[in-house]
């Protein structure tokens, strides 16, 4: 029997799938990961996508239905400042129009294989942050050329 994921997980996986497809078409050597822990282990350049939170709003007064507004963070860890700017611009350009929303399910016996079903679209509601991340002066390693793009997205049918 298949087990289905809930909307937040589906939204995160859909964005990951979309960016993975696009990046593999236009870039070489860019690793796409799902969590910060994995980003620090992967070799540069890395793009890390994470669903951070949900700020749901009521559909209308008196309604029991919520509209999910997911906060998504896209962290870019580059090897140079130029690459940081190029990758950030590319990701911004790709994500601004949204992407297909898939529901994902795992088949019993093969949990690693995800089955995707087209179930609507993910639309970008707003850009919250799009900037270089400077944690401290003179940082090394992954944090040296780091960029963050924070967006809020909604799932529409």
């Amino acid at each position: 029997m298949a087990s289905w994921f809930r909307t937040p997980r589906n939204a995160e996986l859909s964005i990951l799938y979309y960016l993975e497809t696009e990046l593999s078409n236009d870039w070489s050597g860019v690793t796409l990961v799902k969590s910060f822990k994995n980003a620090s282990k992967a070799s540069l350049p890395v793009v890390c996508v994470e669903l951070l939170d949900d700020n749901p709003i009521w559909r209308e007064i008196g309604s029991h239905e919520l509209i999910d507004v997911f906060g998504i963070s896209i962290d870019i860890f580059a090897t140079s400042n130029g690459q940081r700017l190029d990758l950030a611009s590319y990701v911004r350009d790709k994500i601004k129009d949204g992407c297909v929303f898939y529901t994902h399910s795992q088949q019993s016996g093969s949990p690693q294989t995800l089955v995707r079903t087209d179930a609507g679209r993910i639309q970008v509601a707003s850009f919250l942050e799009d900037r270089k991340v400077e944690i401290f002066d003179n940082v090394e390693g992954h944090d040296r050329f780091r960029h963050v793009i924070s967006i809020q997205v909604r799932v529409t049918q």
Binding site: F36, K37, S40, L52, D53, N55, I57, V69, G71, S73, D75, S126, L128, E129, V133, E134, I135, F136, N138, V139, E140, G141, H142, D143, R146, V148, S150, Q152
Partner: protein
């Protein structure tokens, strides 16, 4: 011509105001409404960030004090009349850099640069940090051992949580405020039409 509009009755006696006075009252009511609303939103945003910061802290049991960072965020809320409007800000980067230099690291996560930013404290009942050690609570304190975090610190993204929440709430607030402004303007226009003024 001096026109007076009766707006209220005080002690059984009618009191009138001129259109200019009415305009002034409306403007001040709108500005104060905006100031109250935006200040409340700033406080609620900081509360939300505070919940995430305090919720992510690992401190001894029974410790219930507000963290240093949350205190600074609260103190940073600033309300200013700019002349043409009200400016409410709640993130004083200079103050944060001076009094809580780890605020970016805590938000975004990353590799802790040990130089100059090592954390003083001890484990358990005064033990020094040991490689591979586990199971003891860390106590922050000066003049103890110096901690140099080796693994990347995962960000708790309290800024995102606060700003994301503010972004959704702002829509609600501005719609409500626009309604108030429209209603006030209607009232003003009706008063003008009633007295045949341009």
């Amino acid at each position: 011509m001096r026109l007076r509009i009766t707006t209220q009755v005080k002690k059984g006696k009618k009191q009138g105001v001129t259109l200019a006075q009415l305009n002034k009252t409306l403007k001040s009511t709108m500005t104060s409404g905006f100031r109250i609303g935006t200040t409340r939103l700033a406080k609620q945003t900081v509360n939300r960030m505070g919940m995430i910061i305090d919720g992510s802290r690992k401190r001894p049991k029974g410790y219930s004090g507000e963290s240093n960072l949350v205190r600074i965020l609260r103190e940073s809320i600033d309300v200013n009349d700019t002349g043409s409007g009200v400016r409410v800000s709640f993130l004083d980067k200079k103050k944060l850099d001076n009094e809580a230099p780890y605020w970016r690291l805590l938000n975004y996560g990353g590799i802790h640069p040990a130089k100059g930013i090592a954390v003083p404290g001890f484990f358990g009942s005064g033990n020094r940090p040991e490689r591979g050690g586990a199971g003891e609570t860390f106590y922050y304190g000066r003049n103890n051992f110096v901690m140099v975090p080796q693994k990347p610190i995962e960000g708790i993204r309290y800024l995102n949580a606060g700003i994301g929440w503010l972004n959704t709430q702002w829509g609600k607030f501005s719609r409500k405020f626009n309604k108030t402004v429209k209603a006030t303007l209607k009232q003003k226009t009706a008063a003008k039409q009633m007295f045949g003024m341009k």
